[in-house]
Homo-oligomer: 337 residues x 2
């Protein structure tokens, strides 16, 4: 009988989904292309003619992907930014998203919901994307977002196009992800005093503009959520190539070098949650990328070169400043999520 | 420190998302329109020219939407069927879906995953839909699905088009949802011996074909997940009308009438999880619907009539066999999910 009670009683004594969605998320649906927004069984969307649709989904679980101390607004911004990063990696223009929010009863109140929806609106407005569907359920705190984006046919960036002798680049700074995680996880330590690092965790900056610029230029692209070596390994596996990268060329911010002089190279190689792009470029397009970098139009660093496939366990060779190989056996943030 | 440990350790010691998705869900991605399936940062889809995209999302949480005793396959079929029902209510042709699966460690094994993916494949193949994105995370068992469907412009069914004097219909049998819940929740009772009722819970039959047939005919449509009175109330609210329904006309299966003679009317009115369609039809199209019903082409019953808006709390008037009004104050399965 207990299961029956649990099943039906929880359904009866909750605020209605319709009310929650209508109250807190209604004004996130007004953007272009939405023929019918929230409030029906589904949304109706006018997608662009002659475009392909790009779809990606990502879930954040309390205690796994963000600490229990995170505020509702922080959870919302992080969830949407992490998902937008997948659109950046595909070279897609993000357009619409759905939200599946599972919430424990103690958080299903107007204070929490208002903070959450403000965080969502902050990022949605910044990237001009519309919330087109939502489901709010009772249970352990979990945020699952599905993003829809668009790209002209055959223009999206994939993991599978890298070829021998391509140059390997990363955007922004590496090791910010791991340092940001420390900043978000441990109170009153040397990391938590850095607003920049806390923002890196809760508002990583999805490289949408860069992804769009790289259409037709990058041969392969991925966002660094599992760690540079693991994600570059995904490019190598999908492209049937190998990679060599140089620790001396890894871009690490001055504050992180100072805070973690011993760990920062390790974090840059194996730390996850970077949400920067790793991409490869052939010799024919290299001059364009290098010109953008030198003019400040693109913040990216060349970190290595693609090589031929070979019989070896390791797809990615890491060379230290003396050109000695480091072990790439650490599997990075090869996380279940 | 504990939070930090929880956050990063859980990431390190799980099987990789890529492996799980690749192993168990890869063959669910081969259907039409998928230019690039699972294994990249996003999927690439060729949507049909001159169609609108329909998007809906729904989450099922263990202990709330299915009992802890449910098998992996049962959870998968229910999750996908419940989501497909939203497509039916929109008159959409379902095409693609993403899956966000949050799984406790004890279930992240090949037995559970194989059973889950077989259940998913069963329904995906039956309705010819392709899995185009997945995210597997560690945490309390939660299944969130986002479905994408298509419909020609202005052809999708909404909640908002009902007008005065329209006839109100429901498909299939009512009260199956509540009886099915009892069948799934309580072992060794009079309900659990019914395969039909157990199937109603774990494999409700999304009325996709009916939704497609109703394009251009129904003035409004909704799927009955919150209970007939609550969902018909949604149509009334969206359409600015009221409704009158007759308990004598509610379609209830013979086995449910026999098992629950005292409860079945209540269940038909207020029980959720029916996944049948409630729709309204104007006088000009009524003959088509009635002809389909009498020829057996459509299994539906006329249960009432739409009336004008009025100043009253209750949007839906319920009349018993003697035409006396019943209280519609029960709010049905107005569940937080």
């Amino acid at each position: 009988m207990r299961e029956d009670t649990t099943l039906s009683d929880q359904k009866h004594h909750q605020p209605s989904e319709f009310e929650l969605i209508a109250t807190y998320f209604k004004d996130l649906t007004g953007q272009a292309g939405v023929a019918l927004g929230i409030g029906d069984d589904g949304a109706v969307i006018n997608s662009s003619q002659n475009h392909q649709l790009i779809v990606a989904t990502d879930t954040l679980v309390e205690g796994v992907h963000f600490p229990v101390s995170a505020s509702a607004g922080q959870i919302a911004t992080r969830a949407l930014c992490v998902n937008l990063s997948d659109m950046a990696a595909m070279g897609a223009q993000p357009r619409w998203f759905t939200l599946a929010l599972t919430l424990p009863e103690e958080k299903a109140n107007s204070t929490w919901m208002a903070d959450f929806s403000a965080g969502l609106a902050d990022i949605a407005n910044r990237y001009n994307i519309a919330l087109v569907g939502g489901d709010t359920t009772s249970g352990p705190l979990t945020v699952s977002i599905t993003l829809l984006g668009e790209a002209p046919p055959e223009q999206s960036l994939k993991r599978s196009g890298a070829t021998v002798a391509d140059s390997i680049f990363v955007t922004g700074y590496l090791a910010d992800g791991a340092a940001g995680l420390k900043s978000a996880s441990i109170k009153n330590n040397i990391y938590s005093n850095s607003d920049r690092l806390l923002q890196r965790f809760y508002k990583p900056q999805p490289q949408i503009e860069t992804g769009l610029k790289l259409r037709g230029l990058a041969t392969a692209c991925i966002d660094i959520s599992d760690g540079l070596v693991a994600d570059l390994g995904h490019i190598c596996k999908s492209s049937s190539v190998t990679a060599t990268i140089y620790t001396a060329q890894l871009p690490i911010a001055a504050d992180v070098r100072q805070l973690a002089p011993e760990d920062c190279i390790d974090w840059a190689l194996f730390g996850g949650d970077e949400y920067q792009l790793c991409f490869t470029v052939g010799a024919d397009k290299l001059a364009i990328i290098e010109q953008w970098i030198s003019s400040g139009e693109l913040f990216a660093s060349k970190i290595g070169t693609i090589g031929a496939a070979r019989d070896s366990d390791s797809l990615v060779t890491i060379l230290d400043p003396d050109n000695n190989p480091l072990s790439a056996n650490k599997k990075g943030y090869d996380h279940f999520g």
